[in-house]
Symmetry: C2
């Protein structure tokens, strides 16, 4: 696969690199021979963790600072080939309870990153990890990139704005940028402490703690999932392939699964556990989007990406990881 | 016209009420018997002016404060029937030079207004003055509300985000909100000091100062214009008509006109002056949108709005106003 050679000796910065996806990506890039630096603000409850710094080649490669701090960010961008932008806030619920922090974490952080890249003028390619959240309630399934963007919560609005910033800085200033819309990424290092970011993390924690899983609604809702290694591969392809510049790509899973079937699968893989179907809490119902699964044929045809880890295998690895390292996440 | 009765004795707050459109609206509302209060931060260079406070019924009706200051905003919202949200930054150029201020003025201000309305829970109807800018480069003309939203500058992104905030606070919290997308509003009290907000303001200043008008491009670009009294009527209809809640409406002009013809018309109405066709400055060319004129058939059919002041008459009144009061605007 071409990813193998593309990053050898390249200088890469990962903003949000101590988080779930960022740290998995860092590990992979280091294995590909890239010179990886990480910028992470380690904001409490956002997923960044010093436990994820263990894989870094040297302590010098980590800067604990906020991307909104230009004095810290600009020196990190000098001579940088690639910047992966995984900084930000991803909780839909948090964005409704506290839109201010979401505005700062998503809008201001993205602007800070792009303004810094613009000022440095080093030709750094930027890959922004966006989300399927901004499609809102699907009008047709599977959801393609041409589906209207209809965010249902503040986080969706701000992620949408962040996408547009990248598009405008690309068009107006010539900054090479690509956008990947992630959908339900899961795997080792995901946040499982509570239900603020993903329901799957909440379910995994409950399984590990021998608590009953709560399935909201009727359990019939469909979702697709991407294993974190597959998501990382997509981000790498979007970085190293020139034809990705200026584009937006969906990711997706190899299949859509109902929440009830997912709960069954998790309990089976765990060897024990149970779940209960309960009504949606009001706060979540107001921003729920019903069935969702993505059409990822664009990135498949343009960049050759397909999910390579199936859900059973991915969940098995995830449970295995958290059985070994759960104490760092609970 | 039903506007006549709708506002008699009603408590109205205008955020940004010392600005161009806000102060024209305040004057009209006062004439309709409304109890008008104004909130304006009087941020330098944003269009708000103490000169516009002269029409207020009493000094107590003006609060000079920022809408982001919740302690000031919340008391103003108690028992308020209508809130017109005309606070914000409208310069496309400024938004590219300083995206931070645009983020504050448009995103944070809009969130502050909606959060305050949500907290007060008084059923205040919110009317947000948005802009045709967020359509970007028209894919078809005239531009309808269903045209894709493709902002070409940071101001467009933030106005788009502000629209979505209103939609989400309407759907999730039941706050009655309506959005009007203004297009090239002009008239007495518009900002003419420089070209940061509208090229027409710049032209009018040059005419008044006996300077040559600079027409960018080839002069063939088409635009439509709304006289400020017509824009005010549209905002009033969006406020008082229940069927406007949750909706987005375009405004438009009675005709589209080329920039060259507009320059000819202005020179003719002024009785003297001249213009010159010059190439676009780079900074403006990067965010220019080509021809634009709006389809306003939705607000015409739903709310009965049509532009009532034609361009010749509107420009005549505008020049007359600035001949009398120009010293407050230069």
């Amino acid at each position: 696969m071409e990813i193998k050679e593309a990053f050898l000796g390249k200088k890469v910065l990962i903003a949000g690199g101590l988080g779930f996806i960022g740290s998995n990506l860092a590990k992979k890039l280091a294995a590909l021979g890239a010179r990886v630096s990480i910028l992470d603000a380690l904001i409490p409850e956002h997923g960044g963790s010093m436990f994820h710094a263990a894989d870094l080649p040297s302590p010098a490669d980590l800067t604990v600072a906020d991307a909104r701090d230009e004095a810290k960010l600009i020196p990190l961008l000098e001579g940088r080939d690639y910047l992966f932008h995984l900084a930000g806030q991803t909780s839909h619920l948090d964005s409704m309870r506290d839109p201010w922090t979401d505005l700062e974490m998503n809008c201001r952080t993205s602007l800070a990153i792009l303004e810094a890249v613009r000022k440095v003028r080093g030709g750094t390619k930027v890959v922004f990890a966006s989300t399927r959240q901004l499609y809102g309630i699907p009008r047709s399934l599977p959801v393609r990139e041409s589906h209207p963007v209809v965010p249902v919560d503040i986080n969706g609005v701000h992620k949408m704005a962040a996408e547009w910033y990248h598009g405008i800085y690309h068009k107006v200033y010539g900054i090479p940028a690509a956008i990947v819309r992630l959908t339900n990424t899961y795997g080792p290092r995901m946040r499982i402490k509570d239900a603020r970011q993903t329901f799957l993390g909440d379910w995994i924690r409950r399984l590990l703690k021998n608590e009953e899983i709560l399935v909201f609604g009727e359990g019939s809702q469909l979702r697709d999932f991407t294993y974190v290694d597959d998501a990382s591969d997509a981000l790498l392809l979007a970085a190293c392939r020139e034809e990705a510049t200026g584009q937006i790509f969906n990711l997706g899973g190899e299949r859509a699964i109902s929440l009830r079937d997912l709960a069954d699968l998790l309990v089976e893989l765990n060897g024990r556990g149970s779940y209960r179907i309960v009504p949606f809490p009001d706060e979540l119902k107001a921003i729920d989007i019903g069935d969702f699964y993505a059409d990822y044929s664009l990135i498949r045809s343009r960049l050759g990406w397909v999910p390579s880890v199936d859900l059973r295998e991915g969940l098995r690895k995830t449970l295995e990881y958290f059985r070994a390292h759960g104490e760092h996440y609970l």
